[in-house]
Structures are given as structure tokens and as C-alpha cells.
């Protein structure tokens, strides 16, 4: 087991190196220039050259790349080109925390609705509630953000006046309602179907029949035996979602004015803020690799039948 984990972790630097090289090259050789963006319509060749020199942008490509990787390995992500004087690490962590709170709220909605619903319709297998719930969940999942956000805003902000129309106040601010629903609802369908299948699987097991024959009440069997065992595959799925925590949601964040990492990432691309683009790409890539590993490891811990060599 440990050997397996270490082997997987050894791949991480290689993957990051590949991802960083590709991202770095795209920035340096693609169109656009951070110094021009910095100077706006006050561009002057002499000033631009001077700033390029100070930022090290006039050096050979490989020297720039090598330096970046060397500093990155030491935990120095550099200084933002757009937010002058601001360390990239602080900026990125702050924005990721905003997106993470949003993702947590969305996950609460996905889980809060998806799990009970899946559990419930598993008990109604073959009856009308079963296909009806799944259909509704699938339809909701298919609604694009560009439609769901205006619809939710119209309802909660303009008609019901429950929340301000945009903005951000953190996890415990009512303004999180609209983005959390927008991002949480699509997750319901998947979780419902997964929970339904998993519950049906458990319901057919011998130990459930045994529990019933011992005379344990229906409620106790459901809560103690069925629900708990049905959760096992869900836990592993959640490990994957961890990576999604920090990747943010560009469209939702932009429309609703949430200062999250998704919006920040896209703005950084438009502004050619290379250090920020690099940091977000690398942290994101690293997070996905680790989350994958975590999911694999979680399987092994939860399900004794799985062993890694």
C-alpha cells in the first residue's frame, strides 16, 4: 500500500513539470504581452523595454522557465504582473478560499438533496416516483448556467427580495444562496442515481434480510444498515470533488460578481499575468493528481476487497 502511494507521488513532479512547460510556452509564444496590458494605451517602446528587463521578460525562454521552476520548487510563486507588488501566493490562496467556500455550499446542496432522494427512490423502485425523480434531476442538471443564474436571480432577488442580486460575503452570507444552488443542483442528479443504485445493491444483501428476520424495525434497519453501507461508494466520489473545490466556476463567479479563483484565472489570462496563470495551473494540476490518489486510497480503506500492489 505505502509503496503504491509513494510510486504515485513520484509521478507528481513529472506531471507538474510537463504541465508547467506547456503553460509557460503558451504564455511566452502566444499573442499578447503583459507589459502592453500594464501600460494600456500609454504604451511607449522605451518604457516597455525597461519594464520587460526588470521583470526578466527579455531573457532567453529557457532561462526564464528554469528560474521559474527553481523558485516554484522553493515555494516562491513570484509577483503578479497585474497586481503589482503582490505575491502571487497570497492572491491565489485568497481567491481559492472564496471558491472553496462556494464549492462547500454547493456540495451541501448536492448531498443534502441527492442522498435522501436516491435513498428514497430506491425504496420506491419501479413505482412512478422512481423515474420521475431521476428525470427531474437530469433535466435540472442539463440547464446551462447562463439560464439558471438569471432564473434564480429573478426569483430570489427581484421577486422574493431574499438576497441582493450579486456580490460575496462568505459562507454564512445569504448571497451565497444563488451561486450555491446554481452549482449544487447539477450535482444532485449524479448523486441521486449513485445513491439509488448503491442502496438497491445493499437492500439485496443477505445481512439486510438477516436484520429484518431478527425483528429489527424498518427505521432502524434503514438508518443503521442500509444507509450507512450505501454511503461507501459516495465517499470515494467525494474525494474527486475535493479537487473541484479550488478550481472555481468562471461563469457563475463572473455573472454574480464573486471574487473567486475561476474568474481570477480567466482575467489573468486576458491580462497575460503569467505568474498567476502558472500558479493556478500548477496548483490545480497538483490538486487533481492528489485527489485522484486520495480516491484510490479511500477505496482500499473502505472496501477490504480492493488491494493495490
Amino acid at each position: 500500500m505505502w509503496v503504491y502511494i509513494v510510486k504515485r507521488l513520484l509521478w507528481l513532479p513529472l506531471l507538474l513539470l510537463a504541465a508547467s512547460f506547456i503553460t509557460f510556452s503558451l504564455g511566452r509564444f502566444g499573442p499578447g504581452d503583459p507589459v502592453r496590458v500594464m501600460l494600456g494605451n500609454r504604451y511607449d517602446e522605451q518604457t516597455a523595454q525597461r519594464i520587460r528587463h526588470e521583470l526578466g521578460l527579455d531573457r532567453p525562454f529557457l532561462a526564464q522557465y528554469g528560474d521559474y521552476i527553481w523558485n516554484f520548487a522553493q515555494g516562491d510563486f513570484g509577483e503578479s504582473f497585474r497586481y503589482r507588488g503582490q505575491p502571487v501566493r497570497d492572491l491565489v490562496i485568497r481567491k481559492m478560499w472564496v471558491s472553496a467556500q462556494l464549492a462547500i455550499a454547493a456540495m451541501v446542496i448536492s448531498l443534502g438533496v441527492g442522498l435522501p432522494l436516491g435513498f428514497f427512490i430506491a425504496h420506491r423502485q419501479g413505482r412512478w416516483e422512481d423515474p420521475a425523480s431521476v428525470t427531474v434531476a437530469l433535466v435540472l442538471m442539463s440547464v446551462p448556467v447562463m439560464v439558471s443564474v438569471p432564473a434564480l436571480l429573478w426569483t430570489f432577488c427581484l421577486k422574493l427580495h431574499w438576497v441582493p442580486c450579486s456580490g460575496w460575503g462568505g459562507l454564512f452570507d445569504p448571497r451565497i444562496l444563488v451561486p450555491a444552488i446554481t452549482m449544487g443542483v447539477p450535482g444532485i442528479a449524479g448523486l441521486t442515481r449513485l445513491m439509488r443504485a448503491s442502496t438497491l445493491d445493499v437492500l439485496g444483501q443477505d445481512f439486510i434480510r438477516t436484520a429484518h428476520s431478527k425483528g429489527i424495525g424498518q427505521m432502524t434497519v434503514n438508518s443503521r444498515h442500509v444507509f450507512r453501507n450505501a454511503l461507501i461508494p459516495i465517499v470515494t466520489i467525494l474525494a474527486f470533488s475535493l479537487a473541484g473545490l479550488i478550481s472555481g466556476a468562471f461563469i457563475t463567479e463572473t455573472i454574480l460578481g464573486i471574487p473567486g479563483i475561476g474568474r481570477f484565472a480567466v482575467e489573468s489570462v486576458f491580462d497575460r499575468d503569467y505568474p498567476v496563470i502558472m500558479a493556478i495551473t500548477l496548483i490545480g494540476a497538483g490538486a487533481f493528481v492528489l485527489a485522484n490518489l486520495l480516491a484510490d486510497v479511500a477505496y482500499a480503506f473502505i472496501d477490504p476487497r480492493i488491494r493495490y500492489q
Binding site: 504581452d33 500609454r42 517602446e45 525597461r50 481567491k95 456580490g167
Partner: protein
């Protein structure tokens, strides 16, 4: 303080969200009368404030103006300072290091926390700041006398040595300031220093602890105005050198009326009154700038902020006299910015003056302003915005005149649509949406002249690159905003043949000659007259279609806020605010 504007609509939206007040207001009521009385003045929604309104220095009546109150020691006042919190929306500033500041979002905070030798008042007059007085010899040698009581937020006195170090730090190559050339290169030796070819700026001399001498390369009337920009602000050497590039995040020591007490990226900026300020201390204890964003109107109505701009969609409601909000509306003349459609005079068909003039005459800006943009903008027929130094309403612009337009077109080299080159106008952005106003303009050209123009949208960074390389035949969706209040900042910088930002490749030797003469003309009346001449010549040659003088036309300010003045540029002004009750 240049800000490019992606589209007009975006500008207005942004202005509404981010910077509620970039225009002059009608709320000059210098005495501390009961709130109801001061509210009465701006309550008339239909009245458009006159650009030439008589402005008082805007200081609460009971207090002496800061310029006069030199000897007043705030710490010795027995009366407790007023309390109160002023809250507004703001955007994440790209930086709060004054020497790196090059945008209005940063400058709006920086000017409240830091300060320099001279400043602009809310009526945009040049006033002393840390320099209490100065003399000018031969138009080039400026000798500043510093206030002996000026001190940094950490209690250290400000000396002439601090200024010399700060100006050199701003200009130093390793600072990599995007604006050092713009604001400091009139000083002798500054350009050499900026380029890393000198060990000091020879034109800056410390005479004694409180006397600083700056020599410029020629008599330039706009030099003092340039020194009001944050690039020329004073910083504490120890703090900056000890803190590295992010010193201002960890230890934001300035000299201004407010201290930066909290800065949380994407959340908020909190300013606290500097009780030891060398002039009269601020009238509010705290200023909270909400960076998290949000729907400004909703927040305003919910009493979460004290000020907001009014966007196109809320306009009708706010202007309704039956609405309670209507009592809090302030109408202001436009800010110091102009949006335009630029033509590339080096490329066909815009190399023909008559063709450019024809396109100008074909547009009915009044119609667009009223019908499409709800009068949120003012049509522009000249270059300098109303109220700007050197502005005159006597410029004879190329007004709507379809007859004349057709006449000019038929006289131009490109009268024949068969041989006329394909015309493409480029706008920045990625959304696929272009300004409503531009769509109407294209339609007017088509209907009045039969001139078909295509639109191409280019992503921002690429747009800037192509703009600088003069690759566009015509370009729109951007504007020009004043850096410092001098006509040179518009006319010379945008239209002189040699200017690096003359994006339309406009060349006219006569105009160049007038602009060059104006640069160093010592007689102010004659100098302004030269700019009038130059502006008229430029307008006649039609290198642009000037479109709008933009900026927040309507602003809402809570009735309990006194002393907030709308200015068409960023100037220090939060210290003037008081909160009633």
C-alpha cells in the same frame, strides 16, 4: 490615471459598480446647516448642473481651510474629533504602492493614505500639501519649503531627503513603474536615471532638511500638476527598503489623512483617520471600501453603502420625483474622459481628410445620446472635456449635417463604393457584444452615406498590441481619461506626430508646431489660446469621431453624508466627509 474603456456600456457599469464618484457634484453647501437644508439643493432631478458652477473650496464652514490652517496642531485640539464611518464599493486595487500606481482604482485609495509636495483640491486647483510654499525661478527651478510638522504614520518627520529618495525610488529601473516617464521625465536627469544611466537624478537637490529644489529641463506649465500624481509621493525609506516589493501590504506607512488599517484582497480595505495628520484631520473616523463587489444599487438601498453611481437600468426609477431615492440624486457634469472612434490617417480610406470629415458629419450624436443612452453621456464635438483646463465651448465641431456629409464624400477620393477599400473597425473584448452606440453609428453611416463598415472584435491584450503597432484601419471602444489637469495631457499626447500613443498615425506639421509652442509658453493666457487653436485644427482635420464625454452623470449619496464632492478626476477628498448623527 489612464483607463481604457472596453465599451461605453462597460464603462458606465464599472463606474456604477466600482467608482461611484468620478464627476463633479452639485452639492456645494459649505455651511453646516441642518441636513434637510443641504438636501434641498440637489433634489431637483431635471436640473443639469452647470459645468461652470461657482465652487467654494468645499470645506465645512466652521473649520478653516487646510491651506490656511498651517499652525493648527490637531493633537492639541480639546474638542473630540467627529466619529462616523463612510462605506462604499470599490474594486481590488492592482497595487497600493504609490510609485507603481497607474490606474484610477489604485489611485483612489493611494491618494487618501499617501501624499506629496502638492495636491489637487476638489475643485482641481493646485494646492500646497507637504510643501507649504514654493518659488519658481526662470520657470524651471522650483524651490519647495516643506512643512516642519509633516510626519509619516509612524511618527517620523518628513524631510527633503525623504522626497529626494522617494522620487528616485519611483524613477529607479528596478521599481519598474509604468508611469515614471510620464510624470517625472521633465526633471533634469530623470530620464537618464530611469534608463539606468545615472546614479541619481541631478535635477533634485536637498538644500536643507525642509527645503527641496527641483529643476526641470524647460519651463513647463504642467509640471506642478504632474507632481500631484502618486508617482511623486513621499515614502519612508526604511519601511520600503525593509519590506521588499510588498512592503505596502505588511506595513503601509504613508503621510496622508488616513492610515490603511486593513487590506484583505477581495474583501475590504479599511482606512482609519490619521489623528496626527499635518493638516486638519479627517471628518470621519473610518472609511470602509467593500471589495467583494455586489449589486451597488441594492446595497445602497439596503443601507450597506453610502454612495453609488446610477446605471442605465436604474435611471428611470431614480429620476422619478415620487421615489424617495430621488431626494439623494446628485447630477454632475461628465468626468475628464472622452470616448471616440479613431481613424488611421496612414491607411486608406482614412488618409483622405474629406472622407473622415464626411463620416463625422453623418452621425447624429444627440439622437444616440437621448434615445439609446438615456442621456447618461454628453455628445462630444471637441477633444477636451467640459470643465477641463483649457476647455472652450467655442470649438466649431463637425456636427450632424447629412447634406454636408454627402457633399464631402462625393469630393473625396473614395466616393465610388466600387473602388473604396473594405473598411473594418476594431473593438476590444471577447463577449461578442459591442457598444450599442457603435452599432447605431454604423447604421447611420450606411443610411446617410451608403458606407458599409464591418466590425471586428479582438481580445484585449492583442488589441493593445495591434493598436500600438497602428495595425487598425479604425478603432473604437476605448477612451482617454485625464492624468493631470492640463490640455497637454490630451492634445499633445494624443495628436502630436511624434507621440508614441498617436495610434491613428495622425501627422500634421502645423498642428505639431502649435503644440510645441504651447508646451513652453510661459504666458498662461497665450498658452491656453494656443491650445484652443490646436484643438480647432485637430477637430477640423477629423482624426477621430469624438463620441462622448463620459463619467457618472448621476450619483446617489445618502443624505446624512456631508461634504462628499464629486470630482472628474481622482483627488484626495475623503477627509472632507462628515457623517451627520
Amino acid at each position: 490615471m489612464k483607463k481604457l474603456v472596453i465599451t461605453l456600456i462597460t464603462l458606465m457599469t464599472l463606474a456604477a459598480i466600482a467608482c461611484g464618484g468620478t464627476s463633479q457634484s452639485a452639492d456645494e453647501e459649505p455651511t453646516q446647516t441642518p441636513p434637510s437644508a443641504s438636501m434641498a439643493a440637489p433634489a431637483d432631478p431635471g436640473a443639469t448642473a452647470e459645468p461652470e458652477q461657482a465652487q467654494t473650496p468645499g470645506q465645512p464652514g466652521t473649520a478653516a481651510t487646510p491651506i490656511v490652517a498651517l499652525e493648527q496642531q490637531p493633537s492639541e485640539l480639546t474638542e473630540p474629533l467627529p466619529t462616523g464611518t463612510f462605506r462604499r464599493l470599490w474594486s481590488d486595487p492592482p497595487t497600493l504602492d504609490p510609485h507603481l500606481t497607474g490606474d484610477t482604482t489604485s489611485a483612489g485609495v493611494v491618494v487618501e493614505v499617501f501624499s506629496g509636495l502638492v495636491a489637487l483640491d476638489t475643485d482641481l486647483k493646485l494646492v500646497p500639501d507637504i510643501a507649504e510654499s514654493w518659488t519658481i525661478e526662470d520657470g524651471t527651478v522650483y524651490t519647495f519649503k516643506l512643512r516642519p510638522d509633516a510626519q509619516f504614520h509612524n511618527g517620523k518627520p518628513v524631510t527633503a531627503e525623504d522626497f529626494k529618495w522617494s522620487l528616485e525610488r519611483a524613477a529607479a529601473p528596478e521599481t519598474a513603474s509604468p508611469v515614471a516617464d510620464t510624470y517625472l521625465n521633465d526633471i533634469i536627469g530623470a530620464q537618464e536615471y530611469i534608463d539606468g544611466k545615472a546614479s541619481e537624478i541631478s535635477g533634485i537637490k536637498v538644500i536643507d532638511a525642509h527645503t527641496l529644489q527641483i529643476t526641470t529641463d524647460a519651463a513647463k506649465a504642467y509640471f506642478l500638476a504632474k507632481l500631484t500624481y502618486p508617482t511623486a509621493y513621499v515614502l519612508d525609506r526604511e519601511v520600503v527598503e525593509g519590506g521588499g516589493r510588498s512592503w505596502w501590504i505588511d506595513n503601509p506607512i504613508g503621510t496622508g489623512p488616513f492610515k490603511l488599517s486593513e487590506y484583505r484582497i477581495a474583501e475590504r480595505i479599511v482606512l482609519e483617520r490619521n489623528e496626527e495628520y499635518y493638516r486638519e484631520p479627517a471628518g470621519v473616523e473610518t472609511v470602509v471600501m467593500n471589495l467583494a463587489g455586489g449589486q451597488a444599487m441594492a446595497m445602497y438601498e439596503n443601507d450597506e453603502i453610502e454612495i453609488t453611481g446610477v446605471g442605465l437600468y436604474d435611471l428611470e426609477r431614480v429620476l422619478d420625483p415620487n421615489e424617495p431615492l430621488n431626494k439623494e440624486v446628485k447630477v454632475s457634469p461628465p468626468g475628464f474622459s472622452v470616448s471616440y472612434i479613431g481613424f488611421n490617417a496612414g491607411m486608406a480610406p482614412f488618409d483622405d481628410t474629406k472622407f473622415r470629415q464626411a463620416l463625422n458629419h453623418a452621425i447624429d450624436k444627440e439622437l444616440i445620446a437621448t434615445e439609446v443612452l438615456s442621456e447618461l453621456v454628453q455628445p462630444a464635438y471637441s477633444i477636451l472635456p467640459p470643465g477641463f483646463p483649457g476647455y472652450t465651448n467655442e470649438i466649431d465641431g463637425l456636427r450632424h449635417d447629412p447634406e454636408r456629409a454627402r457633399q464631402l464624400l462625393s469630393e473625396s477620393k473614395y466616393a465610388d463604393p466600387e473602388t473604396r477599400p473594405r473598411i473594418v473597425i476594431t473593438v476590444p473584448g471577447t463577449g461578442g457584444t459591442i457598444g450599442l452606440d457603435l452599432e447605431v453609428v454604423l447604421e447611420m453611416w450606411k443610411q446617410e452615406l451608403g458606407v458599409e463598415v464591418e466590425i471586428q472584435q479582438v481580445e484585449w491584450a492583442t488589441y493593445l498590441e495591434d493598436l500600438d503597432e497602428k495595425k487598425f484601419q479604425a478603432y473604437a471602444g476605448i477612451g482617454w481619461e485625464a492624468d493631470y489637469p492640463d490640455p497637454q495631457d490630451f492634445l499633445d499626447i494624443l495628436f502630436h506626430s511624434e507621440s508614441s500613443i498617436n495610434h491613428g498615425d495622425f501627422r500634421n506639421a502645423e498642428i505639431d508646431a502649435v503644440l510645441e509652442e504651447a508646451r513652453t509658453e510661459p504666458d498662461i493666457v497665450r498658452r491656453i489660446d494656443l491650445y484652443h487653436q490646436a484643438e480647432q485644427m485637430i477637430v477640423d482635420e477629423a482624426p477621430w469621431v469624438p463620441m462622448w464625454f463620459t463619467g457618472d452623470r448621476y450619483t446617489l449619496v445618502k443624505s446624512y453624508v456631508e461634504g462628499y464632492e464629486m470630482t472628474p478626476m481622482i483627488v484626495p477628498k475623503l477627509k472632507r466627509i462628515t457623517i451627520e448623527g
